[in-house]
């Protein structure tokens, strides 16, 4: 049938349910979003008319869109740096043998498995300027004279949200990195030691190359996950103060459901999706770990 063997047809039949499922849950919403972005619908559930690329023209010439895009880039870089550093240090520590290391390896993920709402409530109260324990400690120990408003200015709020999100997510990165570190054969380090390599040389020539596949995955997935973070920012600051923590996902939500501009938000989503796709393809092309054959060919 269709020039295909029976074996091939049976194979397609097996994957058909999954393809249908993917079409329904991914392709259909994507297509709906694109169609929505070509209209002028405001409140969800109301009618709108076709306006072509007007929404795209509006957002691509909008300061708010590009400011939020810039903030998203800073958000990704800030989280990437904080999470990678914290995860790396934690993974190096957890690779060592010390009393309680098995317990530590399990409970390191505690902050990651706690629901986001709980994380937000805990940190809001800890950082409160009118009774929070962090300010109480800072004032009591004479570090500051008056309580700090961690969310009172744009810069402090953005930094605070990045650090809180990094605290929440770094255990996930730690687990992945630890798995990568433990795959590096110990014999390589022993041989290097015999050859007189110091700690930095071992790290540069053994650890880093050995971690490359893991760092590639963390870099790609971590960036995409970070970029799309909405819950922590919305719950902690609502995108404020004065829009200073309004990244693209927050702007899209605000545009759709507070400004009641659903089609415009859909256009923002499409543009964001394209930007992330370009990033992912570029990252894969440039940063994919090379095989030994590829290294030799170079």
């Amino acid at each position: 049938m269709f020039g295909l063997s029976r074996r091939t047809l049976v194979g397609y039949l097996y994957v058909a349910p999954l393809l249908v499922w993917l079409a329904l849950t991914i392709a259909y919403p994507l297509l709906s979003t694109v169609i929505l972005s070509l209209q002028d619908i405001r409140i969800i559930g109301t009618e709108g008319s076709f306006v072509g690329v007007d929404q795209y023209r509006t957002i691509l010439t909008s300061d708010a869109f590009w400011s939020s895009t810039g903030r998203s880039v800073i958000w990704v870089l800030g989280n990437g740096l904080a999470q990678t550093l914290a995860a790396f240090i934690a993974a190096l520590l957890l690779r060592e043998a010390f009393p309680g290391v098995r317990i530590a390896r399990v409970w390191i993920i505690l902050s990651w498995i706690v629901p986001t709402v709980v994380v937000v409530i805990i940190w809001r109260w800890m950082l409160s300027a009118s009774g929070g324990i962090v300010n109480y400690a800072l004032v009591s120990f004479g570090v500051v004279e008056r309580p700090i408003g961690f969310f009172s200015t744009g810069t402090s709020a953005f930094a605070s949200v990045i650090l809180i999100n990094a605290w929440r997510m770094f255990p996930f990165m730690t687990v992945i990195m630890l798995a990568g570190l433990m795959r590096i054969p110990e014999e390589l380090y022993e041989s290097a030691a015999v050859d007189g390599a110091n700690a930095w040389q071992k790290f540069r020539h053994i650890t880093l190359p050995g971690l490359q596949p893991v760092l590639f995955v963390i870099g790609l997935l971590g960036t995409l996950m970070s970029f799309n973070t909405f819950d922590v920012i919305w719950l902690l600051t609502g995108g404020g103060p004065a829009g200073s923590t309004t990244t693209l996902p927050v702007l899209i939500y605000d545009t759709a459901f507070k400004q009641y501009r659903l089609s415009r938000a859909a256009a923002m989503s499409v543009v964001t999706g394209i930007l992330l796709l370009v990033f992912a393809l570029t990252f894969i092309r440039l940063m994919s770990p090379r095989t030994e054959e590829q290294e030799s060919a170079l």
Partner: protein, 430 residues
């Protein structure tokens, strides 16, 4: 006809009748109520009333689903679009137009008229919901801001409760110490901030956001004055109040970190989480500027909207609302948060069920003051007999709060910020 054949026919008819009985038995009418009174004690009180109603009306089952004010402007339209809207939804006047635009709101003019004949609604409670040849919600309760403070704290600082802006500023400064902020003022982009900003706008003579022809007049001298004063007062507020959510101002007051706060009520928080001494809980009207003769405040006539067109559900929902407004139940409903929810009917304002509540008895002086303060209440978009439904788009974006943030966070001048606010409002309603 053969006797055997008749017997067979009779038996078949009997079997058919018995088989149809389940279909004939009526399922109770299901009514879902969405409200935004999330604190557990309020949910509990509403459940108590729901249980009593359900027990007395076995053909109806009412159930509640508490929602969040921060999300309801988003969630309700989405629920309507998805066909999952509740039958009853609590409302404030600037929220109703959004649902009306979706074509789901039931006109309750006749029902409100019938209730009015029985309970005598306060006219100003109905007015914000009556426009476009209909009435779009049934008023349920009123709310108004006051300033809350501790007389002992004032006495220790040697100051009297303020009545004017100059006195308020001086009091806030005098009360600010190493361990206490003179006043707790919100500056987050949310409804509470909108409300407090409007308190100061009313007391600056800037309560009208619209011209009579529906154009905006937000950008005016009085509005600028209101924001300038707010930003001066804000120096004595906790630095992170730019991020306050609901409950944080009351927590600041209860913990004595804030000497005074503008709020609808702090009675329950003060009673359960602070000293609970009615002799040391003061409440005054929002102080006024020199430009106005009398203190005013923001006041919300809260109502309930009907979102179903099913006749059986409409009838059941109306029965439930009528039950709530009966004097023996209405007081208990209002006192789900003593002092916060004030009566909008004459029968309710005299009901024993309101005045005999233990918390109202304990804080009677405060409740009486709040009722007195609410008489000078206004609401942006619904002033001087005018109703401008487009205010819904402005409220949904918390533009009053956004303007404040431009000043206290971004350092803009009040003039520039108010100008930007006018532009934002015009864009929101276009």
């Amino acid at each position: 006809m053969n006797i055997h054949f008749r017997i067979v026919l009779l038996v078949m008819a009997a079997i058919l009748a018995v088989g149809m009985l389940p279909a004939l038995a009526q399922e109770p009418v299901q009514i879902t109520l969405w409200h935004m009174e999330q604190p557990p004690h309020r949910v509990e009180r509403i459940q108590l009333l729901i249980d009593e109603f359900n027990a007395a009306n076995p053909d109806v089952v009412v159930r509640q689903e508490p929602q969040n004010w921060g999300e309801i402007y988003t969630k309700a339209p989405a629920a309507v679009a998805a066909g999952n809207a509740p039958e009853l939804l609590f409302a404030i006047p600037d929220f109703t137009p959004i649902l009306k635009d979706l074509g789901q709101l039931q006109d309750v003019t006749d029902f409100v008229a019938a209730l009015d004949a029985k309970h005598d609604f306060v006219d100003t409670a109905v007015e914000p919901y009556a426009y476009d040849n209909g009435t779009w919600a049934v008023p349920l309760y009123n709310m108004a801001h006051s300033i809350w403070y501790r007389p002992s704290v004032f006495a220790a600082a040697g100051i009297e409760p303020p009545t004017t802006w100059d006195e308020l500023l001086a009091a806030a400064e005098a009360l600010t110490t190493d361990t206490q902020y003179g006043i707790g003022l919100p500056a987050n982009r949310q409804l509470y901030t909108d409300q407090v900003v409007y308190d100061f706008m009313v007391n600056a003579g800037a309560e009208e956001i619209y011209n009579p022809d529906g154009t905006l007049r937000f950008d005016n001298e009085a509005t600028v004055k209101a924001y300038e004063f707010y930003s001066q007062l804000f120096r004595f507020s906790p630095p992170d109040s730019t991020n306050w959510t609901w409950g944080e101002a009351e927590a600041c007051f209860a913990s004595r970190a804030c000497a005074m706060i503008p709020q609808f009520t702090v009675i329950t928080t003060y009673d359960t989480q602070a000293e609970g001494d009615p002799n040391d809980l003061g409440v005054i009207a929002i102080p006024r500027s020199a430009e106005v003769e009398e203190s005013g405040t923001i006041a919300y006539s809260n109502g309930v909207m009907l979102l179903t067109s099913d006749p059986a559900k409409i009838e059941a929902a109306q029965r439930f609302i009528s039950f709530i407004l009966e004097p023996e139940n209405y007081g208990r409903f209002l006192n789900m948060e003593p002092g916060l929810f004030l009566p909008v009917t004459d029968t309710g304002s005299q009901a024993d069920s309101f005045w005999q509540d233990p918390m109202v008895v304990k804080y009677r002086a405060q409740v009486e003051t709040m009722i007195e303060n609410s008489k000078n209440g206004r609401l942006f978009g619904f002033t001087n007999g005018n109703t401008f439904p487009s205010i819904a788009s402005i409220s949904a974006q918390n533009i009053l709060a956004q303007v404040l943030q431009m000043i206290v966070v971004e350092g803009m001048s009040a003039e520039d910020a108010v100008k930007a606010g006018q532009a934002a409002m015009e864009a929101a309603i276009e």
